[in-house]
């Protein structure tokens, strides 16, 4: 029933949150469940960094930025978020769709 929480959240046509400031950890968990991603501490490490970085820059971090600024390397991030780490991480973190091409 964790999915009910998403009923009151505003998403765009691609399933990304419209207002990043509405995000809570519970919403993040529900989005991850909908995306079939099982969250571990390592996922949260990436999500927390993405949130903090977004607050400073206004853009979801690129994968390169995540791997340079955290101890999560490129191989691991693709294991954590298979099938599109840039989009999946931003989606779960409640951020808009990333546009950076690196």
């Amino acid at each position: 029933m964790t999915q009910d929480i998403l009923d009151n959240v505003e998403f765009d046509a691609e399933g990304f949150m419209v207002k990043a400031s509405d995000w809570t950890k519970e919403i993040g968990e529900a989005i991850a469940e909908a995306l079939e991603v099982e969250l571990t501490d390592r996922h949260w490490h990436v999500i927390d960094f993405a949130r903090t970085d977004f607050e400073e820059s206004g853009e979801p971090p690129t994968l390169r930025r995540i791997t340079k600024q955290t101890d999560v390397d490129m191989k691991e991030i693709y294991q954590l978020f298979p099938d599109g780490p840039a989009k999946l991480a931003a989606n779960i973190a409640g951020l808009k769709k990333p546009t950076g091409c690196i």
Binding site: A34, Y78, L88
Partner: protein
């Protein structure tokens, strides 16, 4: 408005079976980046990537050459105005090195990795990297000369691997 779901991440290799085949045939610094950037964007979106390096493109994955790719300053109509060099001057010694140095600086400013690091990043990201067998025979190279993780492959085998893929030739 749509709730997040796996189906919305359509381009994903698992969901959509989308696969991109990139053939990199140029070994100059300016022509090395387009296939690398496209391959990286594809992997970031969850699209499967097969990269075939052929002819001068092989320089991009050859250990001895990948660090020192250069911009051609003669006969290159694609020069950015900022480092545009008239053809006659471009033939002077050091011109290509200077233009390459400038371009590396611009690439660094954008936060893009240099070619060897970019290739390593792509392999870590799960892109498959192949060296063209025929070109390697011609240049007297073996798999040991290629970056770790690269595999030697014939063109026909590459065709088999990329059935149904979208193919981009650079």
């Amino acid at each position: 408005m749509a709730k997040p779901s796996r189906a919305l991440h359509k381009s994903s290799g698992t969901n959509g079976n989308r696969k991109l085949a990139l053939i990199a045939s140029k070994g100059s610094l300016d022509m090395a980046y387009p296939p690398l950037i496209l391959a990286n964007a594809a992997r970031m979106s969850g699209i499967d990537v097969e990269m075939f390096f052929t002819f001068w493109g092989l320089d991009m994955i050859t250990k001895k050459k990948m660090k020192n790719l250069n911009v051609a300053t003669v006969g290159n109509p694609n020069m950015h105005p900022w480092f545009h060099i008239p053809t006659l001057l471009g033939a002077l010694p050091g011109m290509s090195a200077a233009a390459s140095w400038m371009m590396r600086g611009e690439i660094k400013k954008l936060g893009f990795p240099r070619v060897p690091e970019f290739i390593e990043q792509l392999i870590d990201a799960g892109a498959n990297v192949y060296g063209c067998k025929m070109s390697m025979d011609m240049m007297k190279l073996t798999e040991a000369d290629l970056v770790d993780g690269a595999i030697v492959l014939g063109a026909m085998e590459f065709m088999d691997l990329t059935e149904g893929a979208q193919i981009v030739f650079v």
